[in-house]
C-alpha cells in the first residue's frame, strides 16, 4: 500500500516536473515572440514577414470559416432548445432569445470557435513546422542566418491573433441566428419579439469580453502549436505525436484560461 502510494507520488512529482519544464520552454518561446514582434523592428531588424502573414491569414480563414459557421450555428440551435426547455417551467419561453445571445457572445462563441481553430489551424501549424523540423528545413533557415522565430512563428501567431477574434464575432452572429431559426420555427415564437429580446439583452460588455477572451485563446493556440512544431524530434512519427499533443494541450489551455478570464472579468467588470 505504502509502496503503491509512494510510486504514485513519484509519478505525480515527475509529471509536475515535466510540465514545469514544458511551461518554461513555452514562456521562452513567448519571450522570443515578443522580442521579434515588438523590439526587433525598433532595433532595425526585420520582424514580421508581411507576405507570409497575409498568406497565413488567408489560409486560416479559408480553412476554418465553414466549420466555425456549422458548429456555432448548431450550438446556437441547441442552446435555444435547452433554454426553452428550462424557461418553459417558468412560463418564460419568451426570453429564449436573450439567453441565447448572452451565452453565445460571453461564453460559447469564443470557446467553441477557439476549440475548432485549435483542431483545425493549430494542428496544421504543428504538423507543418514539425515536418520542416524533421526534414532539416528549420536548420537550413538557421544556417542561412534567418532566425526561425520571426520567419515561422511570428506570422502564424499574429495571424491567429487577428483571425480568431474575427471568426468569433462572426460565430457569435451565426450562433444567434441558429437560435433564432429554432425560436421561430421550432418554438413558435414571434420573429420580431425574438429579435427584440435578443438585442435588448445584449450589452457591449458581453460582446467585448467574449472577443477579449478569444484573443487570449488565440495567443495560447499560436504559442502552443508553434512550440510543439519546433520541438518535434524523431521523424514522421514525432510529427504525429506532436500534432496530437498540440491539440490536446491547446484545448486544455483554452478551458483553463477561460475559467481564469471569466473570473477576472467577473470582478473587474461586475
Amino acid at each position: 500500500m505504502i509502496a503503491r502510494l509512494s510510486h504514485f507520488l513519484v509519478t505525480v512529482g515527475r509529471n509536475t516536473q515535466l510540465l514545469l519544464i514544458e511551461v518554461g520552454r513555452l514562456s521562452n518561446l513567448a519571450r522570443h515572440f515578443l522580442y521579434w514582434t515588438f523590439a526587433a523592428p525598433l532595433a532595425g531588424k526585420q520582424g514580421l514577414r508581411r507576405h507570409s502573414f497575409v498568406q497565413q491569414l488567408i489560409f486560416m480563414g479559408n480553412e476554418s470559416v465553414f466549420i466555425v459557421f456549422l458548429v456555432t450555428a448548431s450550438v446556437g440551435a441547441v442552446l435555444a432548445l435547452q433554454a426553452a426547455y428550462q424557461l418553459r417551467q417558468f412560463g418564460a419561453v419568451l426570453y429564449t432569445g436573450a439567453l441565447v445571445s448572452v451565452s453565445m457572445t460571453r461564453e460559447l462563441g469564443p470557446i467553441v470557435t477557439s476549440i475548432v481553430i485549435a483542431g483545425r489551424v493549430g494542428a496544421s501549424i504543428t504538423a507543418e513546422i514539425g515536418t520542416m523540423k524533421v526534414q532539416e528545413e528549420v536548420d537550413a533557415l538557421t544556417t542561412m542566418g534567418i532566425p526561425p522565430v520571426p520567419f515561422l512563428v511570428v506570422p502564424r501567431i499574429l495571424a491567429i491573433a487577428i483571425m480568431l477574434p474575427c471568426l468569433t464575432a462572426l460565430g457569435d452572429l451565426i450562433g444567434i441566428f441558429g437560435g433564432y431559426l429554432i425560436g421561430i420555427s421550432g418554438l413558435g415564437l414571434d420573429s420580431n419579439l425574438y429579435l427584440r429580446q435578443t438585442f435588448e439583452a445584449l450589452i457591449p460588455k458581453d460582446i467585448l469580453t467574449g472577443i477579449a477572451k478569444s484573443f487570449v485563446f488565440a495567443i495560447l493556440i499560436g504559442l502552443i502549436s508553434t512550440y510543439k512544431g519546433l520541438s518535434v524530434e524523431g521523424g514522421a512519427e514525432g510529427v504525429g505525436r506532436a500534432t496530437t499533443e498540440s491539440v490536446v494541450l491547446s484545448i486544455i489551455a483554452i478551458i483553463v484560461s477561460d475559467c481564469i478570464c471569466t473570473g477576472v472579468f467577473y470582478y473587474i467588470f461586475p
Binding site: T131, M132, E136, E137, T143, M144, G145, I146
Partner: protein, 268 residues
C-alpha cells in the same frame, strides 16, 4: 594560403557521452577539405557544431577569425551570411517553388530588386545545370535535382565557404558523380572553400585537396589524399580499404554498445 576556418580543441557532449573529443584542424582558403569517418563517429555533429546549429561545450571554432562557438546569436547570423550549407536531404522548403527557394537568402539579406533577384536566381540555377526549373515545386523534381537546387540556394549569396553534409547520400553513382563535379567546378570557378563530410571513399579521393579522418570523436589522420592512402595508421588503413577486420570493431556486444552509448558503467 591562409586558414579560413580554425578548429581548436573542440569538444561536444550529448549527455554523458563525449562525441567530439578535442578536435583540431584548419581549413585553408580555396581548398576542398573532406572529413571522413565511419557511421556514428561524429561527422554530422562536427559539421553542425561548426555552423552553430549545436553549441560546442569546449574549444573554439574560428571562421574568418571570429569564434562561432562563443558568438551571440546576432553575431552568429552575421557570420552565417558568409557561408552556405548543403544538407544531406537537401532541406528545400516544400511550400516554396525552386526559384523562391534560391531567392530566399537574397530576399532576406539584401535589398535587391525583384527583377535583379530573378536574374541572380536564373544564373545560380544555370550554374548547377537547371535552367528553366524556377516554377516547379520541390516534390516535382528528383532527389539529384533537389540537391542541385539546394546547392544553388547555398551559393546564392556568393559565400566564401560551403559546407556539404554527405553530398552523394541517397543518389545513384552517376548522379553522385555529377554532384561531385559540380562541387569541384564551383570551388574552382567561384574560388570557394569547401568542407565536405562523407564516408564515400571514391568520392572523397576524387574531390579532396586534403582530408581528415575521425574516429571516436578524435582526428586520427590527416593529409593529402596520397598521404592518406599511404598512411600507416591502422584505423586509416582499415577505413580506406573497407576491411572488416582491424582496429575498428563491428562485432560489438550489447554491453559494449550500451557502454559506448551511456559511457562508464551500466548495471547490466
Amino acid at each position: 594560403m591562409s586558414a579560413v576556418i580554425q578548429v581548436e580543441n573542440l569538444q561536444k557532449w550529448f549527455g554523458t557521452r563525449k562525441i567530439l573529443d578535442g578536435i583540431n584542424f584548419e581549413v585553408r582558403e580555396g581548398e576542398t577539405l573532406v572529413i571522413m569517418g565511419g557511421s556514428g563517429c561524429g561527422k554530422s555533429t562536427l559539421l553542425r557544431t561548426l555552423v552553430g546549429l549545436l553549441q560546442a561545450d569546449e574549444g573554439k571554432v574560428l571562421i574568418f577569425g571570429e569564434d562561432m562557438a562563443h558568438a551571440s546569436e546576432d553575431k552568429k547570423n552575421e557570420i552565417r551570411k558568409k557561408f552556405g550549407m548543403l544538407f544531406q536531404g537537401a532541406a528545400l522548403f516544400n511550400s516554396l517553388t525552386v526559384g523562391e527557394n534560391v531567392a530566399l537568402p537574397l530576399k532576406e539579406h539584401t535589398s535587391l530588386d525583384e527583377e535583379i533577384i530573378r536574374i541572380i536566381v536564373k544564373v545560380k540555377l544555370e550554374l548547377v545545370g537547371l535552367t528553366g526549373f524556377e516554377s516547379l515545386k520541390p516534390y516535382q523534381i528528383s532527389g539529384g535535382m533537389k540537391k542541385r537546387v539546394a546547392l544553388a540556394r547555398a551559393i546564392a549569396l556568393d559565400p566564401k565557404i560551403v559546407f556539404y553534409d554527405e553530398p552523394g547520400a541517397g543518389l545513384d553513382p552517376i548522379t553522385a558523380r555529377v554532384i561531385d563535379h559540380l562541387l569541384m567546378d564551383l570551388t574552382k570557378k567561384l574560388r570557394m572553400t569547401s568542407v565536405v563530410v562523407t564516408h564515400e571513399m571514391n568520392s572523397a579521393f576524387r574531390i579532396a585537396d586534403r582530408m581528415i579522418m575521425l574516429h571516436q570523436g578524435k582526428v586520427v589522420g590527416s593529409g593529402s589524399p596520397q598521404e592518406i592512402k599511404e598512411s600507416k595508421d591502422p584505423y586509416v588503413q582499415q577505413f580506406v580499404r573497407g576491411e572488416i577486420n582491424g582496429p575498428i570493431s563491428f562485432k560489438e556486444t550489447k554491453e559494449h554498445y550500451l557502454k559506448s552509448i551511456f559511457g562508464g558503467d551500466v548495471g547490466l
